[in-house]
Symmetry: C2
Subunit: 686 residues, 2 copies
């Protein structure tokens, strides 16, 4: 690795010593914490400290005493490896849970100060960042959420900025393109991004890998762009004032900075990016910056200044609270309900009405169609439902009939054309969910869950209710062929901890799954829906929500103790039902278990689980996908009917036949495991 | 959905009737095929037909009689839903396997003409496209591969262009940013892209979702940009000539086109994008374009013209073959070897030397370090190994000590700084592998396999040897915390059909896995490697390659028949070994099975599998990840020691302890399943 040294000979003198002092508090806390942890990333906090000092002391609307103040400005570090910048700011401004002890325990087990900022680990962390580019896309959602809530509730109640720090890595990631393109299109004037233009990444100078003119790129996406010296506090102030004035475009402020500002030898080089700097480097920085306090100690006067900054938003917050209380009662109640994440009282009746409509359908419906019908009812009852699709609206059935489109500069609607930007959509949805007051759902094909998987994972980690609506959920999509047919996706998604993957098996189950989603405000959810129609298997719309337990006995064995259990989900559930009928006639006492959501089933108590799965080890599972997520129920004796390879292009029926996912295959498998014929070695696990 | 009609009143008259006639052959074959299939996408082929006619008749270097001619120009449609454009061209120019019958069987089961172009389904399909944006990134790899091979073998043997068609959707996808940024940085002057600027996507006008100035965006990424009327054949010709002249930048030609050019009512609207147009629309197009042939029939004169185009490259190909034969024998042999994908004779000795070095190490090595040592040896033996990393070179240990970096305009090296562009890297690697003559591998952290998963999937579908080197493969990465700790990734990756996921358990296994990768030219591979050191468990470097069978008995039970089997992989393998020692002492006859690659194990015969897994159902699996991919071996009686939730930030040992993935936990699990203590309900599958 060549040593691409850009170490400055000297550091620029401060324009304003008091701001430099504030910034140095961040620098030394960051250095000390990384050094103590022997792990972490000092370069970014030291490079962006001056920007943070100006932003927090002069612009950011917040009150450390009330981290959840709804109308606070949102502050995100997309370059999340610089977590010590954020933790320093939270400690300095006086967030109660961010103590100096937490700073000292940076990156230690069970501290609040994880290596990267983790949402819910401490107050003031607006989102989980670290995987690069996610934060800028979350910020688009936060800024969009603000505008949408503003359109409903007005400037008096909702009127704040979203500020985001981002690094070279964020800008190299593809998701940054999707995010900035969407933000520019939607004219999110209250979104202000600060690019830490330090020309360094882990491998060395960014010039090793890129030559982009990022300011030109942002202008091409309809952003307002300024370029400044990121250590010149006058320039930082002026740029923020200018950016705030621009209301029809998001703003990007390219801040030329020195990574590891203050380090005597590492500053300006990739060595400043990560790892403990060592005592010598810290000693040098102390000398250069004139810092005399012991490690982890902030001079009292400076800490007082910072604490005042943390408290200065108090009056504004109280004035806002008065405005909320003096708003018209209807508006106030609605606003408070939405801030608190409570659903309007009529929503469960909407589910009932949807079930009624679905059970009355004269023709078979695809679950994506059923979902569309549910959404028609739900949206009328829950106005905070915010729909969208990554350019597959007519296929995903995501647009409720009364939803109005959001357009650039017009935020009064409830439906977004996200464009062909699955990753940007999912991360924007996370930002919308994090903002509060909105329940985002967005559609694409299930196979493209791969395109947005990093953001789906973050929804699960953060436990926010982003609802991913994924249609065309198997080889049943037919002619589009192998690239468009999800095979491994259901198992791969079910493997993500804390993600509820629903795959309803008929229209009524579809409504039940939506009900379960709406019942769980802290549950990231994905609902997999079929392209092709399927029969109604649950006739009674007044039935309890059986899908909410994850799995249930759809049909119990008849004529005595259960001999065989067929497990199924989604569009294969009716194959199980048809096979059971034949097997029962043959004298094999067979139950059908529908499992629309493995995660919810795993949460049930042992007795319930046992009652569903039955005592017999003769089990068959059928799903037009790989078997991995079913293996734990099949055991060594079960047989799986499903996919063992990639799909094929052809008519739906031809494709199912080609891969032998048919009623007949389920019957054969049932006979085999129930002992009616000898097990064949080929189809069994060893 | 609003009907955003941009239907033109009239279509522009042809500049050159004979070129228009050639283009109309594509248009009507595409219309007829989509209509017959009642499925597909006619809009793109009809819109881009004029561009294709000029490109194929006047510029593209190819010979339909020899689709594998190494020095052919590469032609990719990144907007793969327009597959009928490609199939039409292959049929018209006379590729032997693309018969009119195949065109008639478009999108039918087991035809060569799948919904989207599938590599290996027919000759002339350079890559599998459909998931948007992949094709442009593959093209970057194809164009880069050409330059790298050119640097080794000179203009006489390697000197061709890469042409790629792409659509609005490709440009919205984030991967397009990574791809064009990398291509611009690397100055890939022989890459020429045609943007089908038709302003339409599935939801309607692209203005619903984007406002980007794409030409400005490409310029910001150092591309040469032209903007033309995509139906003006003179302009198309002039633009290609100009683009070819620019050698220090890739070229983008923005072609303003009318989607569904020729349709009387659907042209210029989203209705032209997909679905069968209907007989009326086709009849109208016939009238407008003056087409009188029956469906699927091309007038003889036109077919002759097209067949001449398909054959015109013959003399150039033969001249090239002569140049190959008359090259210096060393060069020729090396070139032919690399074209044929054969490895140099010395490579297996390099593996042996690596094993020797690894087994002699005085300290424990992380498998990422072991991998780095293997690569040092392998690269010296296999010069076509082309390394790289997505800005994690020092962490991934991907740069062999003798590898020289590739730089903008300097292609004589063997190592790429891909930047923080995991998705672009993986798709570029696929293009490099498809080009031939090179074996690409590239590194990132395992958790970021999510960022490039769509391209990993395509490597598996296409069965090309892209080698994904994924380090920091568990909670063992420690302090970076939940976002950076892969939990579900191993199971999620193993679920992908045809992808060999390796996770070696010690340095010797690491060498064995690399050997298995090098032995399988048509196998997409991912190797998961630890951050943390682990003991050497396989002392004898002269041992046969046991990892090549996917799983094997590392230690058999002693003292009688096996009672208990512990399965493990990677950094947890030594926990199994330590636990076995205790359990054997306690009188539980215990075997340890190492399973570095499930896919390879599943391919073994039943007898081998049985011998490895043993007859006893008392099984424990240990892996610092979720259990899903182990469930099929655990059955209903086994116990899993591993992760059941997201990870945590902390020191490695603290993290392992927190989640109880320890030798002691394996011992407890072993006692439990071997019947020494009563099974606890909580830790068992129901």
């Amino acid at each position: 690795m060549p040593d691409i040294s850009q170490a400055p000979k000297t550091f620029p003198a401060p324009k304003d010593q008091s701001l430099r002092d504030l910034a140095d508090c961040i620098r030394f806390l960051s250095m000390d914490a990384v050094q103590q942890a022997k792990s972490g990333h000092p370069g970014m906090p030291m490079g962006m400290a001056d920007i943070a000092a100006v932003l927090f002391s002069e612009f950011l609307k917040f009150d450390a005493a009330d981290p959840y103040w709804f109308d606070r400005d949102r502050f995100v570090i997309s370059n999340g490896h610089g977590s010590m910048l954020l933790y320093s700011l939270l400690y300095l401004t006086g967030y109660k849970d961010m103590t100096i002890d937490q700073i000292k325990r940076f990156r230690q087990i069970d501290s609040r100060t994880a290596g990267h900022p983790e949402y819910r680990h401490a107050t003031g962390i607006e989102t989980t960042t670290g995987p690069l580019g996610q934060g800028i896309a979350n910020s688009v959602g936060l800024a969009l959420g603000e505008r949408i809530m503003n359109a409903s509730f007005g400037d008096n109640l909702v009127n704040h900025h979203t500020y985001v720090f981002l690094g070279d890595g964020c800008l190299m990631e593809g998701i940054s393109h999707e995010a900035i393109s969407l933000a520019g299109h939607l004219k999110l004037g209250k979104l202000i991004a600060f690019w830490d233009d330090n020309s360094i990444s882990i491998d060395g100078a960014t010039s090793l890998a890129e030559s982009d003119d990022h300011p030109a790129r942002f202008r091409a996406a309809n952003w307002h762009v300024q370029q400044i010296d990121g250590h010149d506090t006058d320039a930082i102030r002026a740029a923020i004032i200018e950016a705030q004035k621009v209301t029809d475009r998001p703003s990007m402020i390219a801040c030329k900075t020195i990574i590891g500002f203050g380090f005597p030898t590492r500053a300006g080089t990739q060595k400043a990016h990560s790892d403990a700097p060592g005592e010598d480097e810290i000693a040098g920085a102390r000398k250069i910056l004139g810092w005399t306090s012991p490690p982890f100690e902030i001079p009292e006067a400076l800490l007082n200044d910072w604490r005042k900054i943390g408290a200065k938003g108090g009056p504004a917050r109280m004035a806002w609270a008065v405005r909320v209380q003096t708003a018209s009662p209807d508006k106030r109640d609605d606003f408070e309900r939405r801030m608190n994440g409570e659903l309007p009282s009529g929503w469960r009746a909407a589910i009932a009405a949807a079930k009624q409509e679905l059970s009355g359908s004269e023709k078979d419906l695809a679950t994506r169609q059923a979902s569309g019908i549910v959404l028609n009812h739900l949206f009328d009852a829950i106005p905070e439902l915010l729909g969208g699709s990554a350019d597959l609206t007519p296929s995903n059935n995501t647009k409720a009939k009364n939803q109005v489109e959001i357009k650039p500069g017009e935020y009064g609607g409830s439906y977004l054309h996200y464009g062909v930007r699955e990753h940007g959509m999912a991360a924007t949805m996370n930002g919308l969910a994090l903002h509060g007051g909105l329940i985002p759902y967005g559609g694409t094909f299930l196979t493209f869950s791969d395109y947005c998987r990093p953001a789906i994972r973050l929804a699960a980690i953060m436990e926010v209710r982003s609802i991913f609506v994924m249609t065309h959920d198997s080889i049943g999509l037919g002619e589009d062929g192998p690239t468009h047919q999800p095979i491994e996706h259901l198992s791969a998604l079910r493997a993500i901890p804390q993600l509820a993957v629903y795959r309803p098996g008929d229209p009524i189950e579809t409504a039940e799954c939506w009900e379960a989603i709406m019942d769980a405000p802290r549950q990231a959810a994905l609902i997999a829906l079929s392209r092709q129609p399927m029969p109604l298997l649950r006739g009674d719309p007044s039935d309890e929500n059986r899908s909410a337990r994850g799995a249930y006995v759809l049909q119990e064995a008849e004529g005595g103790a259960r001999q065989l259990t067929i497990l199924a989900s989604g569009s294969e559930l009716h194959l199980a039902v048809e096979a059971r009928s034949v097997l029962q006639d043959e004298g094999i006492r067979t139950a059908v278990v529908s499992m629309p959501c493995r995660l919810l089933f795993e949460k049930q108590d042992a007795a319930y689980k046992k009652s569903v799965l039955g005592a017999s080890r003769a089990r068959v599972a059928v799903e037009a996908a790989v078997q991995d997520s079913w293996d734990r129920y099949l055991g060594l004796d079960g047989v799986f009917v499903g996919m063992h390879e990639f799909g094929a292009s052809g008519k739906i029926d031809d494709v199912y036949k080609k891969f032998d996912i048919t009623t007949d295959a389920v019957i054969r498998a049932g006979r085999e495991v129930a002992g009616e014929s000898k097990p064949s070695v080929a189809s069994r696990s060893p």
